[in-house]
């Protein structure tokens, strides 16, 4: 364009082209250009300026494009009208509106819950300033012998040290370990503090606020600790804690800093104290295994990358290191991954997490259930609106004749749906507040989840309500907007609205399938839970009180003597773990040339007596101990693996503990002993005599009618021996039940959801039943006049619904069976078989209630006097 050199700047032209009406533009723009050419004689700048001012001056009412603006004005007016119509229609149809609003509100309260929960989950570790650059190393452990793959959140100290020393691009490395809980003594006061071990870069990578002390140096030296504010309050009044010395056992710890209490939305466990990782290193300096390639079970390593280091670079470092190291090993391989600090929670299902952990798969399950409930409620709206639309047909007809477009009718009915959904939102919020505490306690089961309200949630809730409104209202809106004005007004009664009839039935089938599947799920979960807690474990657990011994220096014998003084105490034994409660200890034993990894419990002779272990052959071990060897009671699996043909052959044989070389003589072979809970496979198991007085639990067999009084007595005995630690005693049966708490939760969750789904679908069914019987009153009257009996009428009216219920149960029963049989119950080694007793009761209950709902309506309709109905025809 040659003219451009002489013309005004293009952007100025664009302005006028933007606002000016098409029919005026060419002429006006031409004029301005002509003037511009004239002004160019003076100076280009002046010409530009005048041109620009002219453009602004010409922006007048008659030049700017009007159609759009006017369209908006009418749109606004129409909206007002739609709004009024919607409110009136909601108010007029009280039954339908309340069914819709209540149904939506109930399901939306769960939606709100999920939104709040998710928003909190995505908030984890967001407060760290360097979160973009901080990555945590995770480990994939592959056992080459049995092919097991374990995904670990932990890794080895070794890899962290190596990366820090030899690899460029990594600014800092942090090593953490959990479980640093210790008793500290200061000024004659002894208290236990929960803690973690952290290396000196703790405050460099994480943004925790230090109140006193230097965050850069606080954790460098061995035997230094940083306290949180609440820990400081436990020990100190006013004086500054920094520089003070705490005593723990023989060790002296210097306090080097005080930090603010940690927030709950982090992947770290809640701690009151951080001990320098250097202490850990110093204590373990003689142990070869501490900093080794394979010690990946306890330590957590975080990397702070330099700004320009890509994560691929570090990934390649890790691949390089692991391929080199794996080549040296026969039994396992390790590979690593990097997870950004802000993406640790929710995570992808790793074990050995340092703190709170929420698995994506669990969240997804909850999301799917929420979506199903929401869809069920939306279908209610869809169904009832379509059914009711016959009454709105005339309104649509008039609107269309007056000139409403398809789009306008569509937006009117969408608006109505959104309005209902927003009313439901308000109700839902109230319900949400009611169910929130229960949800946190039962489903989330984590102290770190608070579900606190934030102002931006309002926006989310609102968006959610609008989306639900659109989803629920779209179908009826489309159906109504497609109607032809002429056919409506010519003869509304002959209108074929019910092309959607099959669709409506499909929606009801969906609702009832969901309800039935959920109630079956609840039944199955409950049956499995009941089965699990009543399963015969092969040892006595009733009336056994387990006391955890947190202090390893405790004089157990003294405690036993004190406890035995209480008459209600029948027997006392010690053990290092409690079988059936999900914890496990492993041990390598040698027998001649063979070696075997076995699950074991270290117990005293009293343990066998107290727990009533039953033997195939042999018996328990004697009360007194020998220095040279210890006794062991094994199960049949060990016999089998070590090649004894009969259990008798094993008696008296000597095994060797591969860890410390101790000889173990077999004193008996026991019958089924359920070491693991029913979800875990049962490996070879043994009970090893407690040859070095190590014990973490005291098992007390009690007999008392007054448990509260007994507990007081027991606690008194405990207090006389251990003043520092709280008395923690629980009945074994309760602890065993806790191992299956997940299934109890599942049962409660499914029950809750199925109740919601059932009530929503029943409300929907009621609405539809009311509508159909109303629409068919004339038909009923005519039939009655012609001689149909009430029974006949009820049959005719409910036939359709019965078919729907039958189809639903035909879908729901196999579906629930399949899901539980192939996905859920396979987790159990010992499980129930799903039969009619699990599948049918819930379904029959729903069918019964549904039929009662329909029956109520049909009975009423069949009882009407035909004369009343037909008189006015």
């Amino acid at each position: 364009m040659k003219e451009r050199d002489h013309g005004p700047p293009r952007w100025m032209d664009r302005i006028i082209e933007f606002y000016c009406r098409k029919d005026l533009l060419e002429d006006l723009q031409g004029d301005l250009h002509e003037y511009y050419a004239r002004n160019l004689d003076k100076s280009r700048r002046k010409a530009n300026l005048i041109f620009f001012l002219d453009i602004l001056k010409f922006c007048r009412l008659y030049t700017i494009r009007k159609p759009k603006l006017i369209g908006q004005m009418t749109f606004f007016n129409l909206m007002q009208n739609y709004f009024k119509t919607s409110v009136r229609s909601i108010a007029r149809n009280k039954l339908f509106s309340s069914i819709n609003i209540v149904g939506l509100a109930v399901s939306m309260s769960i939606g709100i819950l999920m939104i709040t929960y998710l928003s909190q989950l995505f908030n984890y570790d967001e407060f760290h300033e360097k979160k973009e650059l901080v990555y945590k190393i995770g480990t994939h452990y592959t056992d080459l012998d049995d092919g097991d793959v374990i995904d670990l959140a932990s890794t080895s100290v070794y890899i962290g040290d190596l990366l820090k020393k030899d690899y460029p691009g990594i600014e800092d490395v942090l090593t953490l370990q959990g479980w640093a809980d210790k008793d500290f003594t200061f000024n004659d006061k002894t208290l236990q503090l929960d803690g973690i071990y952290g290396s000196e870069s703790f405050y460099n990578l994480f943004s925790f606020e230090m109140i006193e002390g230097d965050p850069a140096t606080a954790l460098i030296e061995p035997y230094t600790i940083v306290l949180t504010e609440s820990a400081v309050e436990k020990f100190f009044d006013d004086e500054s804690p920094v520089g003070q010395v705490f005593k723990s056992g023989e060790d002296l710890y210097t306090i080097t800093g005080v930090m603010k209490d940690m927030p709950s939305n982090t992947h770290l466990p809640s701690f009151e104290m951080i001990e320098s990782f250097a202490t850990r290193r110093q204590k373990a300096k003689d142990s070869k295994g501490f900093v080794s390639w394979g010690n990946v079970w306890n330590y957590h390593v975080y990397l702070l990358l330099e700004e320009n280091t890509s994560i691929e670079t570090v990934d390649n470092y890790l691949k390089e290191i692991s391929s080199e190291e794996n080549a040296k090993r026969d039994h396992y391989t390790l590979s690593f991954d990097l997870v950004n600090l802000a993406h640790l929670v929710p995570g992808t299902g790793k074990s050995n997490n340092i703190g709170p952990y929420i698995n994506w798969t669990d969240i997804n399950k909850l999301l799917v259930l929420t979506a199903i409930i929401l869809i069920t409620a939306c279908f209610n709206y869809t169904n009832l609106s379509v059914a009711r639309s016959l009454r709105r047909v005339k309104e649509v007809g008039v609107r269309k004749v007056v000139g409403a477009s398809k789009k306008q009718v569509l937006s009117q009915f969408l608006l109505e749906a959104i309005l209902i959904s927003i009313i439901a939102l308000i109700l839902a919020f109230g319900l949400y507040l009611l169910i929130k505490p229960e949800f946190i306690r039962e489903v989330v089961d984590s102290e770190s989840v608070e579900l606190s309200f934030r102002i931006n949630h309002v926006l989310w809730y609102f968006t959610f309500a609008v989306l639900i409104g659109v989803f629920a209202g779209l179908l009826p809106a489309i159906i109504l907007s497609r109607l032809k004005a002429i056919s409506i007004l010519k003869d509304a009664s002959r209108l074929k609205l019910f092309k959607g009839l099959t669709l409506r039935e499909v929606l009801i089938v969906f609702q009832f399938t969901v309800s039935m599947a959920l109630i079956i799920s609840a039944t199955i979960s409950y049956r499995q839970y009941e089965f699990s807690i009543n399963y015969d474990l092969g040892f006595r657990s009733e009336n056994v009180l387990n006391v955890s011994l947190r202090d390893t220096d405790l004089d157990v014998e003294l405690l036993k003597t004190e406890l035995e003084k209480i008459p209600e105490v029948l027997d006392i034994s010690t053990a290092i773990m409690l079988p059936g409660t999900q914890s496990m200890y492993m041990l390598d034993v040698h027998y001649q040339e063979d070696s075997l990894g076995i699950y074991y419990n270290r117990v005293d002779a009293e343990y066998l007596r107290l727990h009533e272990i039953s033997y195939l052959v042999g018996g328990g071990f004697p009360l007194e101990r020998k220095d040279s060897l210890a006794y062991i009671v094994i199960d049949e699996k060990i016999c089998e693996k070590f090649g004894f043909e009969k259990p008798e052959d094993a008696i008296g044989e000597i095994f060797k503990n591969a860890n410390d070389g101790r000889k173990l003589q077999v004193s008996g072979v026991m019958k089924d002993y359920q070491y693991a809970d029913l979800q875990n496979t049962l490996g070879p198991t043994a009970l090893v005599q407690n040859y070095d007085d190590k014990a973490y639990y005291l098992n007390i067999l009690v007999k008392s009618d007054n448990m509260i009084e007994l507990m007081d007595k027991l606690e008194g005995a405990w207090r006389s021996v251990d003043e520092v630690h709280p008395f923690e005693a629980e009945f074994y049966d309760d602890q065993l039940q806790q191992a299956y708490a997940e299934y109890k939760t599942m049962f409660r969750l499914f029950t809750f959801l199925s109740l919601i789904a059932i009530s929503i679908s029943l409300m929907g069914l009621l609405g539809i039943a009311v509508f159909t019987t109303e629409a068919r009153t004339k038909e009923i009257s005519v039939r009655k006049v012609l001689g149909a009996s009430e029974k006949n009428l009820i049959y005719i009216l409910s036939k359709g619904f019965i078919i729907i219920l039958a189809i639903s149960s035909l879908i729901a029963i196999p579906l629930a069976y399949y899901v539980f049989d192939t996905y859920v119950l396979v987790e159990f080694r010992e499980r129930i078989t799903i039969g009619p007793t699990e599948l049918l009761p819930g379904v029959l209950l729903i069918i019964f209630v549904a039929l009662a709902t329909i029956g109520w309506q049909t009975l009423r309709a069949s009882k009407t006097n035909p004369a009343d109905m037909l008189r006015n025809e």
Binding site: L24, E26, D27, Q29, G30, H33, E34
Partner: protein, 111 residues
């Protein structure tokens, strides 16, 4: 109807269009008014008036040939319509009547 009476500036513009014959387009009109009356009118004002006159049906317009100085855009030429001519005549008649009613001696001493 309000529009039957011409405003003062409307009348001037209308007369200018009539006097320019086939050359009456916005820029020319502004120039011509400046030449004859000595009034510095703005294009925006003239443009608005032209628009109003066209809405009243007093003038008609058509697009001419594109010219280079206008960046290849066409001019809009205006002509006075029949109604326009009638209202101009009517306005002139009214004024003539009024002039005729004024005795000579009123203007004595001015000429």
């Amino acid at each position: 109807m309000k529009g039957t009476n011409l405003g003062e500036f409307e009348e001037i513009v209308l007369l200018t269009i009539a006097s320019l014959l086939t050359e009456a387009y916005s820029v020319n009109i502004v120039d011509e008014i400046a030449d004859i009356t000595g009034r510095k009118t703005k294009l925006g004002v003239v443009h608005a008036v032209l628009k109003r006159l066209e809405d009243k049906g007093l003038i008609t317009s058509e697009l001419g040939e594109p010219t280079k100085e206008r960046g290849g855009r066409r001019k809009r030429f205006f002509t006075v319509s029949h109604t326009g001519k009638v209202s101009l005549m009517k306005a002139k008649e009214q004024r003539d009547k009024l002039w005729n009613n004024i005795p000579e001696l009123v203007f004595q001493g001015i000429r």
